[in-house]
């Protein structure tokens, strides 16, 4: 008879190395979804033990206690207690500890014992602890706690062997009669007593080095220095954005010529007609022009994941707390806002680390102003077409500088909006406390970075393959039908549905310097910002033939004035051009009203900024 599926749950404090253990156990066999009704990420994976037992493991959100102060922490509590809707009670709860830092985890474990679930303590990062001179009496600790204790080195091959072996042993045992669940929220006095008990157990079984990690102290002396620290933070952000531009270029050209080749192949193989036009102009050049931005998205996430794994993100939050506080933001908002540079959706979802509702709402409202990676295709296209590729002071690339300026404009306006929200809406309100652990620095691991990038790249490609593909087909349809009447003058697209919609919108957008082709591209751009590039490609490719699609930028440079290009850049800093972001805002705030407010204020800002840019540019003779 096959052994039944074993359900494991990983519980631990933030920074306990829970996620690297999860990655080590499951590799790429991971499924990321949401818990029903809430937008807390549910990470489940599976593996097979050495004895061949199938195990499913859920990585629960990090928490310091079972009190459930935030939606994430409530999930962890309900899951462990078996109260979570539609979830199996875990057969075994793995309480994951950073071996160099046991105090807080042992207290959590003592609280977990009250739930009556079978428990095992995993002393993770045991190698680092040993190197720092931490010695743990594992048997003694196990006896004092009354639960099995194993050591693990999640980041090393074979480092989880002990854990796997013990899991097999526990699974093979006849299920012990479960202890009753006597957990209830701890009072302050009980919490204090539990921490004392944890400290007593640690004193008797663990010997700690007298000095903190010397590398962490040395790095922090520089990184948290009032002057050097800010300089380093600015330098990191600057390098990140230059890298997105410079490093990605060769790969993007490779992808781009690949899609061009594919397009030519289809062009040569198929007879001229509707099918050829659909595949070549609709599918290949449309989807290709979006997929081409994969290298840039990978680079952005590479930086974010590296900084997160290294331990720098918490330091950035520490430095930014008061500066952000001046704009009415919480220090913890820094990480969600930085994630919003990649995409506002994960950014908005990660605002759950902010437990005060008003702080969280402010962060959600301004997150879409952070320049997400979907804007990069639009920015890149316009900058390459209109900004000369030259060096400024023989140091900085002018195009990179403009890009930096666009990011800076997004950040500045986000801070300004946040300040206004605080001033007008929540004037009488004291900020929620900023309390954050600054973990010791750790060398980021290639494997966990790779898994992180892979997951995100897959999400992007899925979007390119579904939403964006569907939009491309729609655009191609709108741009191709109805066909031009026989003997008509001018390009066929001038007679299509797309032209009708674009021309209907043109009077509204004319003060911004937008022509009807731009108006056409903005409509599907609502599905995802980057679609606008592909849409422009399609609109101009169909109008000008295949040669145009190969050089969208060059075509734009001949069709648009500099003022129009700058105006469109300004539009894209602010415009609420992303239906999925709006959907996530509605879900996270639980209110259509907040979604409508976000949409309205961003649209108003976009219109105003574009109008101002266009007017000023015309005044300077850029028309």
């Amino acid at each position: 008879m096959e052994a039944p599926l074993l359900h494991l749950a990983l519980v631990g404090t933030p920074n306990s190395g829970k996620t690297s253990l999860f990655n080590a156990l499951t590799g790429s066999r991971q499924k990321v979804a949401n818990y029903p009704g809430v937008t807390v990420e549910r990470k489940e994976g599976s593996f097979v033990t050495p004895l061949g037992r199938q195990v499913s493991v859920v990585d629960l959100p990090g928490t310091y206690s079972l009190r459930g102060r935030s939606p994430d922490e409530e999930i962890t509590r309900d899951f462990v207690l078996g109260r979570a809707a539609g979830e199996a009670k875990p057969d075994l709860v793995l309480c994951v500890a950073d071996s160099t830092n046991l105090r807080l985890t042992i207290r959590l474990l003592l609280e977990l014992k009250n739930t009556g679930r079978p428990l095992m303590l995993v002393l993770n990062m045991f190698d680092i602890a040993t190197r720092r001179g931490v010695t743990v009496d594992v048997a003694g600790l196990s006896e004092a706690l009354g639960v099995p204790v194993v050591t693990s080195i999640a980041v090393r091959k074979g480092g989880t062997a002990d854990l796997l072996r013990r899991t097999d042993e526990i699974a093979a045992q006849a299920p012990a009669p479960l202890a009753p669940n006597v957990w209830e929220p701890l009072t302050v006095a009980q919490l204090r007593a539990t921490q004392r008990e944890a400290d007593r157990i640690i004193t008797s079984t663990v010997s700690l080095p007298a000095r903190p990690d010397s590398w962490t102290s040395r790095i922090d002396a520089v990184v948290l220095h009032p002057v050097a620290g800010i300089a380093i933070l600015a330098a990191i952000l600057f390098v990140m954005f230059q890298a997105v531009f410079a490093w990605a270029q060769p790969l993007m050209e490779l992808l781009s010529s690949g899609f061009d080749g594919l397009g030519r192949l289809v062009h040569d193989l198929l007879p001229a007609g509707l099918l050829q036009s659909f595949l070549e102009n609709g599918v290949i050049s449309g989807v290709g022009s979006v997929v081409v931005f994969l290298p840039q998205i990978i680079i952005i996430f590479l930086f974010i994941l590296l900084l997160e794994d290294f331990g720098y993100m918490a330091r950035a939050a520490f430095m930014m707390d008061r500066i952000m506080g001046g704009a009415g933001l919480h220090g913890r908002a820094f990480i969600p806002l930085l994630s919003s540079f990649a995409c506002a959706i994960p950014g908005i979802m990660s605002t759950r680390v902010i437990d005060n509702r008003r702080d969280r709402l402010t962060t959600i409202l301004i997150a879409p102003l952070m320049t997400c990676s979907a804007r990069i295709p639009v920015y890149t296209l316009i900058i390459s077409a209109f900004i000369p590729d030259q060096q400024v002071w023989s140091l900085v690339n002018l195009r990179g500088l403009v890009m930096f300026g666009l990011y800076a404009a997004g950040i500045t306006s986000a801070l300004a909006v946040s300040f206004l929200i605080k001033f007008f809406m929540w004037r009488d309100y004291a900020p929620a406390p900023f309390m954050l652990e600054l973990p010791d620095y750790k060398m980021p691991r290639v494997r966990s970075i790779a898994i992180g990038i892979y997951t995100r790249a897959r999400m992007f490609l899925q979007r390119a393959g579904t939403t964006i593909f569907a939009m491309m087909v729609l655009i191609w349809f709108l741009a191709s039908f109805p066909a031009a009447p026989a003997g008509a003058e001018g390009p066929a697209i001038n007679y299509s549905l797309a032209a009708m919609i674009g021309k209907a919108l043109e009077p509204i957008l004319a003060p911004l310097g937008f022509n009807w082709q731009i108006a056409v591209a903005l409509i599907p751009g609502m599905a995802a910002r980057e679609v606008a590039v592909a849409a422009l490609g399609t609109v101009y490719a169909i109008e000008g033939g295949k040669e145009a699609a190969e050089q969208i930028g060059q075509v734009l440079a001949t069709k648009w004035s500099l003022a129009t290009a700058l105006s469109l850049l300004a539009w894209y800093i602010f415009a609420p051009q992303c239906a999925s972001t709006l959907a996530v805002i509605r879900r996270e705030t639980g209110s259509t009203g907040w979604m409508a407010i976000t949409f309205a204020y961003m649209l108003a800002l976009a219109y105003a900024a574009s109008w101002a840019t266009y007017t000023v540019a015309i005044a300077f003779g850029a028309g």
Binding site: S65, R103, L104, V188, D220, P226, M435, L436
Partner: protein
């Protein structure tokens, strides 16, 4: 009164400067003026390891107004704003 070596005067951690090290004497969450209720603030401080008898050292100060502070509590480093640190009375 003058301070002697064996009986250091008590002070809220929120007033301590960089380099200060001492031991937590007690928590006094009602005096902190935090946005949190006293019992919630006390719970959170304990969950981050701020309990009586724990050794603390102020490692770093923020850039604006020397706020927040990074405090070594036993072997963990916690960033906390001075306002909340006022609840931690050290000696």
């Amino acid at each position: 009164m003058t301070e002697t070596n064996d009986a250091r005067s008590q002070l809220p951690l929120g007033l301590a400067r960089r380099g200060y090290s001492g031991v937590i004497h007690h928590l006094s969450p009602a005096d902190a003026g935090s946005a949190l209720s006293p019992s919630e603030l006390e719970s959170r401080l304990i969950e981050l390891g701020f309990v009586e008898g724990a050794r603390v050292e102020v490692l770093h100060e923020g850039i604006v107004g020397r706020d927040p502070i990074a405090v070594r509590v036993e072997n963990v480093t916690i960033a906390v704003r001075r306002r909340e640190a006022m609840a931690i009375i050290v000696a």
